[in-house]
């Protein structure tokens, strides 16, 4: 299935793009998409602990199951205010 992954702020600038489409098997979780991203960008492993994940605009943990055409946002530390 097809997952749209979105990047913001520092992450977007560092990766040089704001989104990417990931193909993953049915019943994949956030973790599995993350593994796909790590293959392409191994340097992401260093910042993993500082990131949060959101699916359909709600914070989720990495075990969250995905559905086809879900939007997964990778959220670097927020700094509003």
């Amino acid at each position: 299935m097809r997952i749209k992954v979105r990047f913001f702020a520092s992450l977007r600038e560092r990766l040089g793009r704001s989104e990417v489409i990931c193909e993953v098997p049915p019943h994949a979780t956030v973790s599995m998409v993350w593994e796909v991203l790590l293959c392409e960008h191994p340097e992401l492993a260093a910042i993993e602990r500082s990131l949060a994940f959101a699916v359909a605009q709600e914070y989720v943990d990495k075990g969250h199951p995905l559905q086809d055409n879900d939007e997964l946002a990778i959220i670097p530390p927020v700094s509003g205010g």
């Binding site: 600038e13 993993e48 605009q57 927020v78």
Partner: protein, 169 residues
């Protein structure tokens, strides 16, 4: 012909007790006060976050904000609903600005009304603390000699994201 400014609509609940908005325009505090003012409310507390000219010893030139559109408003609305549940407040309004914000301008504002002042103060503090912790908004600081996404440098593992610092503009 008068130009009509297109405004991003606020997320407002059915009872009109909360209003949450992301805006590209300068913040109008009066607009927030007007939303929360109520005949039953004897207190109106406001908080306004302003851009400061120094941060961690850096001379800040301006700030640039971006958000995850849609989710940012939803997270703000959650905070407003939570404040309405936890304190006996009458109404709450929150707004956060995006894009370029010059020094001395407001980047965020919150207004809370309540029967008595304690609840308004407490809910207002809660709302800004929560906003800074959970709402997907990011600020980039442009300072003398470089630029930096705030937040990414506070994590020990964030060094990789931190490489923008010191980059000459």
């Amino acid at each position: 012909v008068q130009a009509v400014k297109s405004k991003v609509p606020a997320v407002v609940d059915e009872q009109q007790r909360m209003s949450c908005r992301i805006t590209n325009d300068p913040i109008d505090l009066q607009e927030l006060s007007d939303f929360v003012v109520d005949p039953s409310a004897g207190a109106l507390a406001t908080f306004v976050g302003m851009t400061r000219n120094t941060n961690d010893g850096r001379q800040v030139i301006l700030l640039q904000y971006e958000c995850y559109a849609g989710m940012a408003e939803k997270e703000m609305a959650k905070i407003a609903v939570s404040a309405l549940t936890r304190w006996p407040i009458t109404k709450i309004a929150m707004v956060h600005r995006l894009g370029r914000v010059d020094i001395g301008e407001a980047s965020v504002a919150i207004a809370v009304s309540s029967g008595h002042r304690q609840a308004a103060f407490a809910a207002c503090q809660y709302a800004i603390d929560q906003l800074k912790a959970t709402v997907p908004i990011w600020k980039k600081e442009l300072y003398e000699g470089g630029e930096l996404w705030i937040g990414s440098q506070t994590e020990t593992a964030g060094a990789w994201l931190h490489t923008q610092e010191g980059r000459k503009r």
